[in-house]
Symmetry: C2
Subunit: 324 residues, 2 copies
Amino acid sequence: QKDEDIKESHLQLDSKKSISRQQTNKTQSNLAGFFGITINKSAKFHGEAKHSDFPDSKVNIWHWNINGLSAVINKGMLQKFMEEAKPDIVCFNEIKTDLDKISSAKLHQSLPEGYEQYWNCSKTKKGYAGTGIVTRIKPISVEFDIGIDKHDDEGRVITAEFKDFTLVSVYVPNSGDDLRRLDYRTQEWDKDFFDYLDKIRTEKQKPLILTGDLNVARNELDIFDVKGKEKVACYTPQERASFQTFIDKGYVDTFRHLYPEKREYTYFSARTNAKASNKGWRIDYFMLHKDDLDMVVDNRIHKDFNGSDHVPIELEIDLTKKNK
Amino acid sequence: QKDEDIKESHLQLDSKKSISRQQTNKTQSNLAGFFGITINKSAKFHGEAKHSDFPDSKVNIWHWNINGLSAVINKGMLQKFMEEAKPDIVCFNEIKTDLDKISSAKLHQSLPEGYEQYWNCSKTKKGYAGTGIVTRIKPISVEFDIGIDKHDDEGRVITAEFKDFTLVSVYVPNSGDDLRRLDYRTQEWDKDFFDYLDKIRTEKQKPLILTGDLNVARNELDIFDVKGKEKVACYTPQERASFQTFIDKGYVDTFRHLYPEKREYTYFSARTNAKASNKGWRIDYFMLHKDDLDMVVDNRIHKDFNGSDHVPIELEIDLTKKNK
DNA sequence: CATCTGATG
DNA sequence: CATCAGATG
């Protein structure tokens, strides 16, 4: 499978350029970054970041669970999002596709000039999960997945290192309608993933910004009605307790930190026309370690943006306020 | 599986009514007909025929390949069709569903009062093939399939006997994009099905009216452009030759018989916006034996009716002109 | 390109 | 209810 990916890259690259066959599909080196591509199935979608470093001290980072890349492109909502949000960096969840399935012309049309793209697609189940990072600031490096085979099949993590911070985009496994994956999620995934975050933060020696659909509502304030939700995925005691262990490690839910009382949701089930009646859940987050919070300016939830069952969230940071 | 079907019937019938467990799911007896239901998975959809015999000497029989019963219902096109066509009897092809999947309320709403319904769903592949007959004249008997196991899995045939004729509704197996089923279609299905028709006509000793998507275009006149079509399903030499053997047995393509020069199509691929440019095929037919043709008044192709990739066709007959 | 199913959320 | 894949036409 690795061979296949690399072959695809070769096909798409100009013939004089080349990527070493030794390169794994898990690590995005400076070399590949220089070509504006990733190795992991997205070689066909070029793009060159406008900036090699942050042009401004203010940076806005967005996260959006798009519930299908194909759908948001075809509805014109990806283009609309990029034009209106003008993100410096945006992390996508649930792309739900292999990139071979996406028309490269349509994707190109949806993304303004000056962005480069990194996509991590599910290797096993097709049309499932998957993440992406689109950025106009060139990352120093990009890594896919967390280096533990049993967690690395579904394209759930992309880690992009920039000069001033490391950004981790995650789509946490949902426990399932019947909670069939609750044990895997809380006892295996969460533990290993939280360890991965600690490891990255220690290794890189710079602030870590985590964002994504964490598939857990933290508290009563984060769900429209707790009644009967203790046996519903994203609000089981197990998931909430597991999330609490992460918070106990020192990581801070920036939205709740900034707005201790605010009731705003990021996800509205399509099953019950939930958005119109504001029956939502807050399950998409930005999380920073408490020692790295100084640079956080704001964290907004953009409820009015349509196109998915999740709405986009935005973190604004100020690099001049970074804790040294 | 038979047990299951019968159990379903029981559930839906008034408790004082009952159907013998001995009854097979292949034969619709007078008893079940009396309840306005069929045994074959459609028990939940009642309905009572308005007429127990032909109220008029003129009878109009329609056939329409609807490309998905669910879709035509949801688009409102089934209701529109029933209201505009006012068929005495209509045969549907490609219902593409199990009736459990259809909202019985929606189906009820789409069909005017006074019709009873017979549905033959694919037993193996779900969402595939399937036929139906909806009639406001109560049939004397209704049979499903042709009594040969290898042909009877996909719900392709319903035979309804009326006082003055026997009606066979068929959805002939398509040979497939890659012709993978061409041999089955021409060497197994066609042979056995044509024999079945002869048998029915002999046994019933009354005119046989065959209608359906026969998945073959008879001649150059029946296809918008023959170029390259010799290797395309519905126009291979094998399919056309097989169809010719049927014609050689004495069965007459009523449309071509009435209109020897007319170029009208019944199917327009959705793949190329074919309907707007009239790039169609004539693959839906009414066929009667040459000895039974006297009662045929007209056979119309209703090109302007939308809702499917096929258009409805109509046979008008006059029972007073029946050959004795 | 349009239908259906089945998995998933 | 809405996404995607894959089968089928």
